[in-house]
Amino acid sequence: MNLKPQPFRHNNCGLIDRNTTMAFQFDGRTYHGHAGDTLASALLANGVRLLGRSFKYHRPRGLLSAGSEEPNALVELRTDARREPNTRATVIELFDGLEARSQNRWPSLQFDLGAINGLLAPLFGAGFYYKTFMWPAAFWERVYEPLIRRAAGLGRAAMEEDPDSYEKAWAFCDLLVVGGGETGLRAALEAGRRGERVIVADEDFRWGGRCLAESTPVDGLPGAQWVEQILRELAQLPEVMLMPRTTVFGAYDSGVHGALERVSDHLSEPLPGQPRQRLWRIVAKSTLLATGSIERPLVFGDNDRPGVMLAGAVRTYLHRYGVLPGERAVVYADNDNGDVTAANLRAAGIDVAAVLDTRRGASVVRALGGTALRGVEISEGGRTRRIECDLLAMSGGWMPNLALATHHGSKAPADTGTRHFAVPKTQRKCFVDFQHDVTVDDLLLARQEGFTSVEHLKRYTTLGMATDQGKTSNLNALAIVAEAAGKALAEVGSTRLRPPYTPVALGAFAGHHRGRHFRPTRLTPSHAWAEARGAVFVEAGNWLRAQYFPTTGEDDWLTTVTREVQAVRSGVGICDVSTLGKIDLQGPDAVAFLERVYANRFQSLAVGRCRYALMLREDGMVMDDGTVARLGPQRFLVTTTTANAVGAYQHLQYCHQVLWPELDVQFISVTERWAQFSVAGPNARQLLQRVVAEPMTLENGAFPYLACSNFILRNGTQARLYRVSFSGELAYEIAVPADGGEALINQLFVAGEDLGVVAYGTEALGVMRIEKGHVAGNELTGHTTAFDLGLQRLVAARNEAVGSVLARRPALLEPTRPQLVGLRPVNQQQRLYAGSHFLPQGAANTAQHDTGYVTSVAYSPSLGYWIGLGLLERGPERHGEVLRAVDLLRGHDVLVEICDPVFLDPAGERLRV
């Protein structure tokens, strides 16, 4: 292997595996690194220090840190469908063949034209978008928007479908330890020894946190060795679950935590059967945050140059990765970490040109250099001078990482340390939020413009709103604001951090639920049969229902549906109606209960009879419609619409448990228990007589319209028949236990072949109910009452009945309300469009002339022209009137005649044969 040398790799420090060398690409060039490297450490080992361009100003940026708080080194990882924008190079585990690209620069990282933004900086101050791009208005869509679209955003998402799978999982524990550094591991061991169920999670791929980064021993051992030892002990405890590469990204209510496990991110591809990532919900009785601290950057001129790094990160690169972040360093700190870092640098053979301690009166005024640090200008004892260096290790001290605690609204305790917050007087930009390019001047400008509260300041300047959520900027910003306001830091307050702690892929939240499996699909008992017959399906909530059954040669749905309707009305058709909600209801107070839940009376409903029923909402609007069949003195079978099945059942439980627990009634959903088919058409009785054991029991006298009863089929199957009709033809619904549904429909088709039996779907079902003026979902909008729908006769006005009282509000009984009408086109060749509004002829198309709208339309094969139903003010008084049905959205204006909504057989003779 032709290995390129890694010029900045130390020859024996570091916890990387020098025996495993990996090749990777960055911006098209090949480099080498080792197992245990991150992309950041490997690039640094190869001397690559320019890693990106900042968001607004396109300033050259390098690594600030060695962890997930990294604001600068955002790269595009992988290519094609797996391409991931905005990944932090500091947390990408190196693998062989890794490909990464820098972002937000053109044509290259070294020479980025976007840097011109830096010259226009005065225009890009805080809130610039509220002050620019306003004049002239003609430029908004044609000039400004395309410009902004091209410039905006950070990184490019892949446009192909994600080839990987994601999983979700639940975990339960007594103690969740967030953070697997020294504190976390010790706590896990202690709790584990007590027999508690413990989960320890760390975002890193190695355990140990700072133990891997510092030269100080732990319990007398080198950090990494101490970690190995404690891990061996933890391995003995069966109730301790270790979760590496897992970020606990959110603390939610009730001890629930969201965690993202990066199962395969460190592999070029997931292993077969493995997901890419797994999203956990961890339910913890108690939680210990051992999330450590994040180091605070110091604020001075051009403090964002590549080569300016956090001192703790410098130590991490030295000790964990065996990488030399520079050749000549200056150390700058307001605490003891400065001296420690200087000692570590010297031990690694790096020249330390100066150690500046603010406590001893030294400070950095500005960094020098462009795409790389060349030196610093410092102030010491009142005098300024310049020092050459290619590395500035800065430390503003550690800030406790309390993100997860603040998710719950806990306020971070007041910062009591003595810190150096002073900002030097300089014309150069002093950065506070690196990722969103927010400077000290931006904060002061926002204050000047009146945005003095921290919440306003955050949103106006966008400080803390980038993918790093202000991890390295929040405290500095608060201090600058406090200073400008003349207040103490504690008085200024702080903003709340929100989950996720670090970005989480949407795929992880989706897990299994994507594409076809976004939500579960419910299949009817005849689904396979319908599929085999070439049915086209439609989604009705979770259900798949056969919409129509095209035969060979039919390539237009209207032709198929018209044929189905004609076949039903002249012969017999069968439609699967199993999806409608079915509820078995029993008990001594069954009638009393039904008379409260429904608007109708049921006392008089005879055993063996069905009734059309209306369920109202308490505000008087119609909630659902269906049928109630009396199977016995205290036994009923209630049906609901498909869409409302779940809601109606929940409503019944509410009425039973909350409103009237004194009523002795029991009910259960039997939607799944029965396969149910509508058998409709002049030949329906004949067909059914061929399958029931006693055909005479189906004669009209024995089983009249609206009868219901149990039947035994010829083959011994128990069945129920309900003589109800949605189509207006002689019709029955036949129900058998669901596992016999497919057998039944096969049997019916064999038995009915010479009767011209056809399968019909939801479209034909819809056409026929419109021809008969039956209301359905389009009319049951939640804004319509029984009065509006012409069903007032069904409502028995009893106060106990849900909705009864408020349905009697005077405004709901005004004749001016939109009420159900039928409509037909004056010119019978014209098509009608649902959603069209009724406007008078000769009137302008304005809202003041709007008198209602068209709710349902269908081509009527029976009449040979389009028909519709609608809601029209004073509707019943206006039959014969000619209006315009206007659809401004799709550009239609059709003259229509208002008529009775029942287009066929108004006397209902066909039903009763």
Partner: protein
């Protein structure tokens, strides 16, 4: 959020649907104003209050849940017909209005 169903134990809120404020009593009679208040008016409490939750994906029990809307802490959950009376107002009358005439 986890809800302690008294029958099933601690379960994710996704298994439930909520109907809002508990303790409202359906008026008897036909007083339009009483019914309108019952249907449209709710107290919007900042702090502890009681709500109705239905364990839709579980035992199908309607529950009264006492929850703090500020902290989200749940202080109790009972079957709706076994709910102890609370020391605080039950939510029947608006907290800040004079009693109805």
């Amino acid at each position: 959020m986890l809800i302690p169903c008294p029958y099933c134990g601690l379960r994710s809120h996704e298994e439930f649907t909520t109907l809002g404020e508990a303790g409202r009593v359906r008026p008897s009679g036909d007083d339009l104003q009483a019914f309108a208040d019952y249907v449209y008016l709710r107290n919007n409490v900042a702090g502890r209050h009681r709500e109705l939750w239905f364990h839709a994906a579980g035992c199908h029990a309607w529950l009264t849940v006492e929850r703090d809307t500020l902290t989200h802490l749940i202080h109790g959950a009972w079957p709706v017909n076994e709910t102890p009376t609370s020391e605080a107002h039950t939510g029947n009358e608006p907290a800040n209005e004079a009693p109805a005439p």
